[in-house]
Amino acid sequence: MSWFKRPSANLAAVPTDNGDFDPDQDFAAESTFAPVSDDGEPSRVRTEGLWIKCPGCRTILFKAELEAKQMVCPKCNHHFKIGANKRIELLLDPGYEIVDGNLRSNDPLNFQDVKSYKSRLMKAQAETGLNDALVTALGNIGPHEVVLSAMEFTFIGGSMGAVVGELIARAIDRSLSTRRPLIIVTTSGGARMMEGVVSLMQLAKIATGLAELDEARIPYICILTDPTMGGITASFAMLGDLNIAEPGAHIGFAGPRVIEQTIRQKLPEGFQRSEFLLEHGFLDAVVNRQELKAYLIRALDFLKTPA
């Protein structure tokens, strides 16, 4: 979350739907098993470290114990970010199949800022072992066969370009052809601006697919995790039959800095957190990570057209 607070940028007060996502932040330092240090900045503690300081309560936690608790702080319930593969492992029964992992961006704009987009992609691919910011799996959640797509925040902030858009469209196609429920787990700064308007079109592509899924009465559940911003929230993250979130997740449309500069005042405590959205009527439930699987099984029992 520290990437929301970088002070140096002279950000014009203009609307953006990528939630201020900053591709230069060292996302890897905030990945699954790396902690955040005292000052809220990502620390350099390597994953080999045995101990992790909780950013929620500052307790020093034994890493193995934290992992046993699905990366949720036993003291304060802080939900650490976890990667796409870990998420799939936690939600699906053993024996699932990873699919559609073979797409790579072809850099449609030949985009270059202070770095080239190609070099950012290569770095992200090397660091995550993934081709882009989403992994899809087919498998079972208890008695339910599902299509599950999980976003990967450490891949360029989980941002959505043409590959993520196509992967979700393919996941929807799989749900349509098999009638398996679709579940998407979001964690993303928003649209991938290095793909410009191409990234924007992915919102339209996915919404069109979800319209068809809806008309076919195939269940779709979105699980919003920290953070879910910009064009992700403004498309598939808000379009589930049920939209649920992990506690404390940052969820919104505009980035907090853009809003502060627009309204010229500080934002209230807890603004754009899961509990704030629940209170304002935009989530069906806030569910702890350890209870997510049981929740999904129960929900999917309900989201069935009676025979």
């Binding site: 940028a9 014009a12 203009v14 953006t16 072809n106 800022d113 308007v197 919404a207 064009g231």
Partner: protein
């Protein structure tokens, strides 16, 4: 807000080709959506309110007639006096604006009327209240509902097509863009601030993001470019109105002539296959 960005680069360089387009798209004399609506349509009768929270003055919806066709027309309200601009959030809709638009679209669908939207906004309004009232949900809802509409839909990007806030009125059978208009995921200023750490690099950002009508057409993200007079719509409004009028009529009649099922399949296929830029490895 966009009004603050007319100046050329601080380095005093002449504008890049992309930036020249940005200046044209944002030119204060350029016709705004309501100008097009007043000139191209007759008997405009406004439909107000989202029936839940408020009437967003940033968005206008109304019944209108276009060459004998009963249509619903929607446009955001940009420009006007300083007071009006403030009341209209500089043309940037709040959630209730999108919800009003959707409510009006449902009425049009019920009575089988084509829907025409005009878009000239830098984005949806990024305010505290907008977040509280679900700006993201309102945009997302419009996307899925526009995908489902059974009536012909045409979106016209006449100035700035800013991000999800524009797309929420632009998931249409035909997406037209005026020759000097823009379509982008983030304003050049905000892109520069994030990627170059300095909003002064906005010209470079505008170039890199490929936001001009010609570029977004090449990327397959719009269906047709509406020609403007060579001096630009801001210098010859009548010629711009005339050009759009004939282009719009062509598309309206083409869509009305199509069987509904064929039109819906075409819309779905267009968006399913839009902007596919990847390689299989």
């Amino acid at each position: 807000m966009s009004e603050t960005t007319h100046s050329s680069s601080p380095q005093g360089q002449p504008g890049t080709p992309a930036w020249t387009k940005v200046e044209r798209a944002r030119h204060p004399k350029r016709p705004y959506p309501m100008d097009f609506i007043e000139r191209l349509f007759t008997d405009f009768s406004e439909i107000h309110g989202d029936r839940a929270f408020a009437d967003d003055e940033a968005v206008a919806c109304g019944m209108a007639r276009f060459h004998g066709h009963e249509v619903l027309v929607i446009g955001n309200r940009k420009g006007g006096t300083t007071k009006e601009r403030v009341r209209r959030n500089f043309g940037m809709p709040n959630p209730e604006g999108y919800r009003k638009a959707l409510r009006a679209m449902k009425i049009a669908e019920k009575f089988n009327r084509p829907i025409i939207t005009f878009i000239d906004l830098p984005g949806a309004f990024p305010g505290l209240g907008a977040e509280e009232r679900g700006q993201a949900e309102a945009i997302a809802r419009n996307l899925i509902e526009m995908a489902k509409l059974h009536v012909p839909t045409i979106a016209i990007i006449s100035g700035e097509g800013g991000s999800g806030g524009a797309l929420a009125l632009a998931l249409a059978d035909r997406v037209l863009i005026l020759e000097n208009a823009l379509y982008f995921v983030i304003t050049p200023e905000a892109c520069a601030a994030i990627m170059w750490r300095d909003a002064a690099h906005k010209e470079r950002a505008a170039e890199a993001m490929r936001i001009t009508a010609q570029e977004v057409k090449e990327l397959g993200c719009v269906d047709d470019i509406v020609p403007e007079p060579s001096v630009g719509a801001h210098e010859d409004r009548d010629a711009a109105f005339e050009s759009l009028d004939s282009c719009l009529l062509y598309h309206v009649e083409q869509l009305l002539a199509m069987p509904e099922q064929e039109r819906l399949v075409q819309r779905r296929n267009k968006f399913r296959n839009i902007a596919q830029f990847y390689t299989e490895v």
